[in-house]
């Protein structure tokens, strides 16, 4: 390789240059793509700072390298050699960026500037079982309190990777606003013995709706779901199984049914990698199934012509797991009204009192 590989230049200097250059570029990409979970400048990312720091690092590295003797239009590494050193620099810079971002995340959390974990709501509901062929699925029923005049029954569906305990806070808020509320562990989640076989969990949801109607003695049922539960709630409404549905920040899907979300906008690198290595939900046979595959396998909601618009989508104002624009495109795609934007991250939305208030306003 004598004519392609000269290796006559300053290899360590070029490698160092590329490492710093790509570190600068990473800050720009983090700001551009709003990868808050990989940000060194805060969460949500302080974009202007990130852009400025990134541009400064990249410009400084270029100035240092090309101002040196023999690094500009002079005999040096060239062609394939440059590309190899560049690839090495990119890999090392990516590793450094990941490590620094994780350290920044841990530091922010330990200093208390990050979001703190909220206290888990104390469940005051009545434990029950939804009987399905060959399985008994645990659920919790929250009987409505005052005001009784409102009435209604709500099937509340939790997010991917969660359990019905996550929905307890929201369920109590609905019960306090006059709605009998039932939560169940979705297939493949919590204490539900069933794995995800039917991606739309039709059998489970139909059984849960029957149980809710029996307990509540109320024929007016609505479905409310967070994240994946939101997609299932939309599916229930599209086939007319419930009067209306409220989807709290459901993962946006493109026209072909693939997800249009980005976990790096909300989660730290370590938690994304841990989840990718071991997805939270169980498929039939004990195999794990990730959110990506689950979303891709969900049938697209089809609303009959003339069917009343019964679905309301709540989204976050900022770019977190969902991009507001993607969520708006998703609702447009299915002929739904534009998302109602509320404050909070995807993860904190179901635990915020104003979310419960916004949902109650829609249901009323």
């Amino acid at each position: 390789m004598t004519h392609l590989m000269h290796m006559r230049g300053d290899l360590p200097a070029m490698f160092l240059f590329f490492v710093f250059f790509f570190l600068g570029l990473w800050q720009v990409v983090v700001a551009w793509k709003r990868l808050n979970g990989l940000s060194l400048t805060g969460r949500p990312d302080r974009r202007a700072v990130s852009y400025a720091v990134g541009a400064a690092i990249a410009a400084a590295s270029c100035a240092w390298y090309f101002s040196g003797m023999g690094h500009f239009a002079s005999p040096d590494l060239e062609g394939a050699e440059t590309l190899l050193v560049m690839s090495g620099g990119l890999v090392v810079a990516t590793l450094i960026q990941g490590a620094l971002a994780q350290m920044a995340f841990v530091m922010r959390r330990s200093l208390g500037s990050g979001s703190s974990r909220p206290d888990r709501a104390r469940s005051c509901g009545e434990e029950l079982s939804v009987e399905l062929p060959g399985a008994s699925v645990p659920g919790t029923f929250f009987r409505r309190g005052e005001p009784r005049a409102v009435g209604g029954a709500v099937l509340l569906l939790h997010d991917y990777g969660g359990t019905r305990a996550d929905a307890a806070r929201l369920a109590e808020a609905f019960a306090n606003r006059g709605y009998d509320t039932l939560t169940v562990d979705l297939d493949g989640h919590g204490l539900n013995p069933r794995g995800v076989g039917d991606p739309a969990m039709r059998e489970l949801l139909d059984g849960a709706l029957e149980e809710l109607k029996t307990r509540s003695r109320n024929t007016r049922t609505d479905a409310v779901g967070a994240g994946l539960g939101g997609l299932l709630a939309i599916e229930l409404a599209s086939r007319g199984a419930v009067r209306s549905a409220v989807a709290i920040d459901p993962p946006a899907r493109d026209a072909r049914g693939h997800h249009d979300v980005d976990a790096f906008r909300e989660c730290s690198l370590a938690s994304v990698l841990a989840e990718a290595a071991r997805p939270a939900a169980r498929a039939e046979g004990g195999k794990r199934i990730g959110l990506s595959r689950l979303i891709a396998s969900l049938p697209a909601p089809r609303f009959a012509a003339g069917q009343e618009a019964v679905v309301t989508v709540l989204g976050t104002c900022r770019t977190w797991l969902n991009n507001p624009a993607s969520l708006a495109a998703f609702t447009r795609e299915h002929g739904l009204s534009a998302p109602v934007q509320v404050e909070g991250t995807h993860g904190s939305l179901v635990r915020r009192e104003d979310t419960a208030e916004a949902v109650a306003r829609v249901l009323a």
Binding site: L4, A73, P75, G79, R117, D260, V261, E275, L291, S292
Partner: protein, 226 residues
């Protein structure tokens, strides 16, 4: 090894009129472009910038990688990953062919056979085909096959780099044309093999999709990200 830039009189007679015309045109265009060099400090600096071994190739390589962040949805990611794999494979193929061509024959650089305005260092490898033009056009055409607008911009940059190298006195225009043809051939050959690299590319996109949707309710999981 044989030289193709200084053929003997006997060999010249054997050459067809077309090749004589081609060589004459090659040298005439070279002289025209090389006359830019040395006219003033600013154009000299710009020519050196364009002809540099790192700057344009690195920018073009970054533009290849930028296909991924520029794509938003699943279908865009499929196109981007296929484009990146195609370009990297075409670059590897082009480098292998270049190595073979360099071993087969040697064309002296313009500065070693005539008086030129040299704005660059004295390269020692064969002038034909141009390594830099091959690399630049392979990057550009590989991307152009999948993303027309980005690829079009890259074709423009690769052409600028090629023109700068002629103006700097290190290549003849025919070397650049040879590089372009070699790049086109390599990209077309790799594109013909798309059924081979499409399935692994799609699997990579599935892995990327899985990473982007690696979400769970972190409160329950105890991670506390949300």
């Amino acid at each position: 090894m044989f030289e193709i830039s200084r053929p003997s009189t006997r060999e010249v007679r054997r050459m067809g009129a077309f090749f004589q015309f081609l060589i004459a045109l090659d040298r005439a265009v070279f002289r025209g472009l090389n006359s830019i060099a040395g006219s003033n400090a600013v154009t000299d600096w710009l020519v050196r910038l364009g002809a540099d071994d790192h700057i344009f190739p690195a920018i073009l390589a970054l533009m290849v990688l930028s296909m991924l962040p520029l794509s938003r949805k699943h279908s865009g990611r499929v196109t981007a990953v296929r484009g990146i794999i195609c370009t990297v494979a075409a670059v590897a193929l082009a480098m292998a062919v270049l190595y073979g061509l360099n071993s087969l024959f040697y064309r002296p650089r313009p500065f070693s056979t005539q008086a030129v305005h040299l704005l660059f260092y004295r390269n020692t490898d064969s002038s034909f085909p141009s390594n830099a033009a091959t690399l630049g056009y392979t990057f550009a055409l590989g991307v152009f096959a999948y993303r027309r607008r980005l690829g079009g911009v890259m074709l423009g940059l690769a052409t600028l780099m090629s023109v700068a190298r002629v103006a700097a006195g290190v290549h003849y225009p025919l070397d650049i044309a040879g590089g372009f043809l070699l790049a086109s051939g390599c990209v077309l050959a790799v594109l013909a093999a798309e059924p081979l690299y499409a399935p692994p590319a799609d699997r990579l996109v599935s892995g990327l999709d899985r990473l982007l949707a690696s979400w769970r309710d972190t409160w329950t999981a105890g991670k506390g990200d949300g």
